[in-house]
Amino acid sequence: MQEVKQKAIELLQSGKVQRVLGWKTGEFFYDLTPAVFETVEEIKKDFVFSPFCGANLSKYLIAESRKEGKIAAFLKPCDSYSFVQLLKEHRIVRENVHVVGVQCNGMCDIEAIKAQGVKGVTAVRQEGETLVCETLYGEKSVPYAAALSERCKTCKSKKIVLFDELLGENGEDDPDCGRFDLVSKLEAMTAEERFAFWQQELSRCIRCNACRNVCPACSCEKCVFDNDTLGTANKAAANSFEEQNFHIIRAFHVAGRCTDCGECSRVCPQHIPLHLLNRKFIKDTNELYGEYQAGADLETRPPLVDFTQDDCEPSVVYTRGGNGK
């Protein structure tokens, strides 16, 4: 962890970069904020890399890479996929970014810790496989694995797909991560059960747009749901239709572009498992059109802007996947 901070200082000191994109300390141990550091002093004071650096930094590079000078960005495996996807879509000026790949053992989530019944947590320390939490009500222990963010429990890849330099070892894809298990489980349900499941989940949506605004694939200049002239603007989730509409279209718009970084679900204040929508598209495209991982490279055509003459017909839906009768 110190190594990362040291690298940030070194890069800035050497003049290789003028700014550093990383994470800044908060009031607590867990409320870290993405931040741009311009001086060594700032870094020494506030730069932090810890198991609570969940935020994906790639999206900030859309704006940051267009500013004067070069910026160093610390990217975790997940973030690196998003970075490559954004490069592919010409959203980032590559030459202005110095990518430092940082390995990640899975990021923790304060809400996961609290879900273990730990209240008023003010500090935390790792002891082997255990997290010891200091709370307003005394010390409590939580297994490290239980503190992991939901998405990190089914991490698809520890590979940093693109970097200018790497801290630590590069990892590999994990095809057996089981990230589609929940999707399969849903597919195996009846249509009624699925409908009930999604109604219950989506009905909590408050249309705060956190999922959209954090999403590296949602980098439109103006979202169709904010666009008054297009006639598609939709500010409030007035009813279940608009909840469905927003999330279906958003998932569709990022289909083939979503790298499955899981930020949407992480930031949802209502804990809607939004990643299950994106993963459905990923699972479908993998099964129907061949394996495709957005952000894995700069060349492969995304499945929705590609085709083969013998693609399956849409009627495949009537017979495929879970027996939804």
């Binding site: 409908f195 239709f241 469905q244 509409n245 279906i248 459905k280 479908d284 017909e313 009627s315 009537y318």
Partner: protein, 145 residues
């Protein structure tokens, strides 16, 4: 929509200008009957169909939405229907995943020469949607009477 106690579905059919719209015209030329519940919207190509239009139709009270285009390989614009095919496959799969009846959406390739197929397709689709009954799972109550 209920008419005299009988359920009459609202069906929106998006037809590509070159094949299916002409196919629908041919069905008319040949006086092939299909239910009046089907209303056709002309689009230049099946690839013009934005998933938002489909959801919009359901929001506004449609009970079924069908897209008709040139047969794969025959697209007037060479490749449009290939993209449409992927988009619709994924969209339909997503709707199904959300528990929305999968039979409410359909894609059928109808050439300009297939007036009979157009009529048969519409007859069959209307029948299927009628059996499903009113669209309840993707409805916007504000738009219902």
């Amino acid at each position: 929509m209920q008419v005299n106690g009988e359920f009459k579905p609202k069906i929106v059919a998006f037809c590509c200008n070159w094949c299916s719209y002409a196919g629908a015209d041919l069905a008319g030329n040949n006086r092939l009957n299909y239910p009046a519940e089907v209303k056709i919207i002309r689009i230049p190509c099946s690839c013009r169909l934005n998933p938002m239009f489909i959801l919009r139709a359901f929001q506004r009270g449609a009970d079924g939405v069908i897209l008709c285009g040139c047969h794969p390989g025959d697209c007037h614009y060479t490749t449009g229907n290939y993209y449409a095919r992927r988009r619709m496959t994924l969209l339909f799969s997503m709707l199904d995943y959300l528990g929305i009846e999968r039979e409410r959406t359909r894609v059928e390739w109808v050439s300009a020469a297939e007036g009979a197929k157009f009529a048969a397709t519409m007859n069959d689709f209307v029948q299927t949607v009628t059996k499903l009954g009113e669209n309840r799972r993707l409805e916007d109550l504000r738009c219902k009477k």
